[in-house]
């Protein structure tokens, strides 16, 4: 890992309709051709193969865990014994749905498409991401990963807003913005930024979903008022706050502190080795370089893909803790110098970063 600074125009303009959006297009960073590790077609086909079995198994476990933890929370409601049950329920609701939304949105989790669609809709509701809006924003995230002014899913912008990041461990700002967006969409308004990535024929679908969700939340609030109890909201809505910690903890590691405005996922994404429980919650998205390089590969095949191409990738970060030990100091440095970032070191067996691909962006100036 090398710590370097870049010469990007500061301050960065993250608006999807602003100066850096225009510069990204002018500099060829928008919809660019990205680096891929060479994999023979036969092996790639094997990796891409879809199967219902792993995701059905995981989804049965997942839904069963929801039912058991919710039942325990309801049964012990009013005593401290409900806390561990709601901790599990909240983590499932407010965190594991991040990866289910993601994988099923790609259509890779299950072979059968209606199964992807069903889990996608459920997970989107729980994680409070409009299934139409976020399908298209994530498409852009994969086209223009961490390209300033193009990528709508940059979790930590520069200079980092650390208060926002900390608050999001409790879902506070994300849920607030999600609610505002939902009400706005339900009122029939699509924002200018949303219009840059949601095709016009799809926009009414985003409005329809927002109206359905708003009705569900209003019904939940009405039930809570009727029962004079927080319990309905502990089961619907609030878990997005008290259970968000795990998806924020893992999500920040995906790209935090690394390069922006580059077209090589080895530079702007981080693979982190994790414990089996986190990998179940996260559905193997800890193999994040691999996922971005080959989004066709289902979550259950990512460990195999990692083994196949690790000779061409930076060494994986050995743990979540190790990831935070390198990322937090980088964030703190970026408070003083937003051009600072961590450059991932490649093993001798890897193809070098193609600096010539980055001539019009910060890394070219920063790398040497």
């Amino acid at each position: 890992m090398t710590a370097i600074t870049s010469s990007a125009a500061s301050p960065r303009d993250y608006s999807l309709t602003g100066r850096d959006a225009r510069l990204a297009i002018e500099n060829g960073l928008a919809a660019a051709e990205w680096y891929h590790t060479d994999i023979p077609r036969k092996q790639m086909k094997e990796l891409m193969q879809r199967s219902d079995q792993p995701a059905i198994r995981d989804t049965i476990i997942w839904l069963a865990a929801f039912v058991v933890s919710a039942a325990g929370g309801i049964w012990f409601w009013g005593s401290w014994w409900c806390v561990p049950f709601f901790f599990v329920y909240g983590t499932l609701y407010g965190s594991s749905t991040d990866s289910r939304w993601h994988e099923c949105g790609h259509g890779t989790a299950f072979r059968t498409q209606w199964m992807n669609d069903a889990v996608y809709q459920l997970a989107c509701f729980m994680i409070m991401r409009n299934p139409v809006t976020w399908r298209w924003s994530h498409t852009r995230h994969h086209t223009d990963t961490i390209i300033v002014g193009r990528d709508p899913e940059i979790a930590v912008m520069r200079p980092p807003d650390l208060l926002r990041a900390v608050l999001n461990f409790f879902g506070i700002l994300d849920a607030w913005h999600a609610m505002v967006d939902m009400v706005r969409n339900a009122a029939g308004v699509i924002s200018a930024a949303e219009k840059t990535f949601i095709p016009e024929p799809e926009q009414p679908k985003a409005i329809r979903v927002a109206r359905i969700w708003l009705a569900i939340y209003l019904a939940t609030i009405a039930l809570a008022l009727y029962l004079h109890s927080w319990l309905p909201l502990m089961l619907i809505g609030l878990p997005r706050l008290y259970g968000a910690w795990h998806h924020v903890m893992t999500g920040l590691l995906q790209h935090g502190g690394l390069a922006d405005n580059v077209i090589d996922h080895r530079l702007n994404s981080r693979t982190v080795l994790m414990n089996p429980i986190s990998r179940f919650i996260y559905w193997n998205m800890n193999y994040h370089v691999e996922h971005h390089m080959f989004p066709m590969v289902p979550y259950h095949a990512l460990p195999k893909l990692h083994e196949m191409i690790k000779h061409d990738l930076p060494a994986p970060t050995p743990s979540i803790l190790a990831g935070y030990r390198e990322m937090i100091p980088a964030f703190l440095r970026q408070l003083r110098n937003e051009d600072y970032f961590l450059k991932r070191a490649l093993p001798p067996t890897a193809k070098p970063y193609r600096e010539e691909l980055h001539n019009d962006n910060p890394v070219a100036a920063a790398a040497e």
């Binding site: 298209w136 994969h142 066709m296």
Partner: protein
């Protein structure tokens, strides 16, 4: 004058797979279905111009390798986000073990 162009040998494509074919400055995708029929479409995804030959064939669907957009490669119909525009298809025939496509 015939528009039929030789693309490859029949055995060059595995069953339920796709191959890229470039001709006269254009790029095409040639498919072999699970029931051993051959089809051809434009080679680039209508969403962001990614080569479909790097994608995955499942039954009668080709899935784009970049954003997982889906087309029915037999009809060219766009079948799943983020693709909205259909794919152009081309007639294919097998002649003496060769795959020929008619480029209009």
């Amino acid at each position: 004058m015939s528009d039929w162009v030789e693309a490859c040998a029949a055995g060059d494509i595995d069953e339920e797979d796709v191959m890229r074919f470039d001709h006269a400055g254009r790029t095409f995708a040639i498919y072999r279905s699970p029931d051993d029929e051959y089809f051809a479409t434009d080679g680039l995804c209508t969403h962001e111009k990614v080569h479909l030959a790097d994608g995955l064939v499942m039954d009668d669907i080709i899935e784009c390798p970049k954003h997982n957009g889906r087309f029915n490669y037999k009809t060219g119909d766009a079948r799943g986000a983020p693709v909205c525009v259909n794919l152009k298809t081309y007639p294919v025939k097998v002649d003496a073990g060769k795959i020929l496509i008619r480029i209009g």
